[in-house]
Structure formats: structure tokens, C-alpha cells
Symmetry: C6
Subunit: 71 residues, 6 copies
């Protein structure tokens, strides 16, 4: 019965998959997050329906994150 | 006259159906939630108009959740 | 000159009509709400341009509610 | 140099025009508002590109209001 | 290294250009703002791809403002 | 394991690339930011699929920022 932020904590330094509001999927390693679900991921790869692109380290604003799961 | 968070509490460990902003429906078991309606569901299945897909355990950011009901 | 939350209070246990961000209309009985305008409605019916569907009791996240009026 | 909420206050009981996020225009009399710009308007008329419709008294959630002006 | 709100302050009573979420551009004079970036502009002109229209004084809800710059 | 705001701090006065909710990319120098991820960038260039345009100094509201990375 881990609360959402405890599940986030359990994903630290692990490969995650993120769905953003615009349907982009980002894959990378969860480097950090804060109370607003702002997130830093490293080795980020952006996956759209037609494309795959390396983005390095990115900061994501929490309000645009739809869902997060372990990869 | 249960307030919204009390109704959430009554759904704990039960199968729920979630409608997200992008019209995706997720079905799964409500594992936890917090004050922002961030939600953890397990045994998640994503149901779109054309597809059905298993997602395992996912963290959902509350701001992208439209509605929640017991399945 | 009732403030918005006082008008919400006056609608308790009454049939209401809700417009959501995705243009869906929900009709049902206002069971409860909180400060974020998260809302519980019972006997919910979802009305889209092409469809009408019973949803039972649903929890709505306030941020996706556009407007509320008595039915 | 009136701050936004002081300008809101000056519009109380006056006819206003509201643009919502979905491009709907609502016209009516400003009955009340709160700190989140949740708004109650009376004698509401909804104006879309193709239609005009009376809505009576409605509660609007602030986050879906784009702009407000005196009519 | 002025923080965002200090830059806002420096634009007071000056002509500004605002991009809204729906891609509308508003031009006018910055009359006031608050901590949520709710904004009052005067002598407002709405500029869409196909149209230009005078709006007078308008209150904008901060959450629908994308960017602000001096005109 | 730097938290998101610490990574923001490390980008101060550096060239960054910003993706906004409407898929516009802005490139410029990070001048300042605040707790809501409101951002000031200078020497801003707006890059859309079909266009490139100089915007000078702009204030961005945090809620419309999707992701930030060093250029």
C-alpha cells in the first residue's frame, strides 16, 4: 500500500518509462524528483510514433507527466 | 455524503476504472493515492478504442485523471 | 452574492449537469465536493454527442470540470 | 494600477463576457468569485460559433477561464 | 539575473505581447498582475491568424498565459 | 542525485532548449526561474516545424513548460 511518492522513491536510479500529455514516451534513468513530480531523467530517449531520439539529461515539469512505470 | 477522498479510500485494493485526459481508460487495482489524487494502480490494463495493453504497476499524476469509478 | 462554494453547497443532493473539459456532459446527483472542486456524483449518466451511458457513482477531479449547473 | 482581483471586484453585479478554454463564450452577470477565480454567473448565455443557448446560473471552475471583460 | 516576477514588474505600464494557450496573441498595456500571473491589460487587441479585434480592458487567468514579452 | 531545482540552477546563464505544451521549441539563455518553474530566457529563438523567429527576452509561465535541457 505504498503511496505514490514512495513508489517514485523505489524507482530512483532505475530505468523508467514516462508518458507525457502530448503522447510522447520518454525512457531514461530516474535521477530525481520533487513534490510536484518534477522529474530529472538521464540517458533520455524520446519515442514518438515515427521517431526515436536521444535527449541526454532533461528536466520535466510534473504537470505534463501522465504516467510513470518501471521499464 | 462521503467527501471525494473518503470515496477514494473506499476503493482501496478494489478494481477501478480510470478515465484520463487523453481519453485513455486504465483498469487496475487501486494500490494508493495522495491528496493531489496522484494514484498507484497495479495489474493495469490500458484500453484505447483500438487496443488493449498490460502495463503492470503505474504511477498516475492526479492532474491528468478525469474520473474514477469502481469497476 | 453567494460565493462559488456556497452555490455548490446549495446544490447538494440535487440533480446537476456538469460539463467536462473534453466536452462530455455528466448528469447525476451531487453527493459531495471538496475545496479543489473534486466532486462525487451518483446515478451518473454520461452524455456525448452520439451516446448516453450509465456510470453509477463517479469521482471527478476538479481540474477537469468546466462548469456546473442545476439540472 | 488595480490588481486582477480588484478589477474582478469592480465587475460585481455587472454584465461580463467570459472566454473559456474550449473557445466557448459565456455572457452573464457576475454574481461572485473566489481566490481561484472560480466564478458564479447568472442569466448565463453560452455563445458558440454556431449556437446561442440560455444556461441560467452556472458555477465555473477558474482553471478553465481564459479571460474576462465587461460587456 | 532578475527573477520572473521582477521582469514582470519592469513591464508595468508598458506595451506587451502575450501568447495564450490557444495560440491567440494579445497586445496591450500591462496594468497589473499577481503571484499567479493573473494579468490585467488595457487597450487590448486580440490578434489571431485571420483577425484583429479590440477588447478594451481584460483580466487574464495566469494558467492560460504561455509567454510574455515587451512589444 | 540532484533534485530538479538544483539541475535548473546548474543551467543558469547557459544556453537551454525548452519544449512547450504546444510543441514549440524555444532556445535561449536561462536568465532566471522561480519555484513554479516560471522562466526568463534571453536571446530567445522560437523554432516551429516551419519557422524560426527571434523573440528577445521572454517570460514563460511554468505550467506550459514540458521539458528543459542544456543545448
Amino acid at each position: 500500500m505504498a503511496v505514490p511518492m514512495a513508489v517514485m522513491q523505489s524507482l530512483m536510479q532505475k530505468p523508467i518509462s514516462l508518458l507525457l500529455k502530448d503522447n510522447t514516451v520518454l525512457e531514461g534513468v530516474l535521477e530525481s524528483y520533487d513534490d510536484y513530480m518534477n522529474i530529472v531523467i538521464t540517458n533520455t530517449e524520446e519515442i514518438t510514433e515515427t521517431n526515436k531520439r536521444k535527449l541526454g539529461t532533461v528536466i520535466l515539469r510534473g504537470s505534463n507527466v501522465v504516467r510513470i512505470s518501471q521499464k
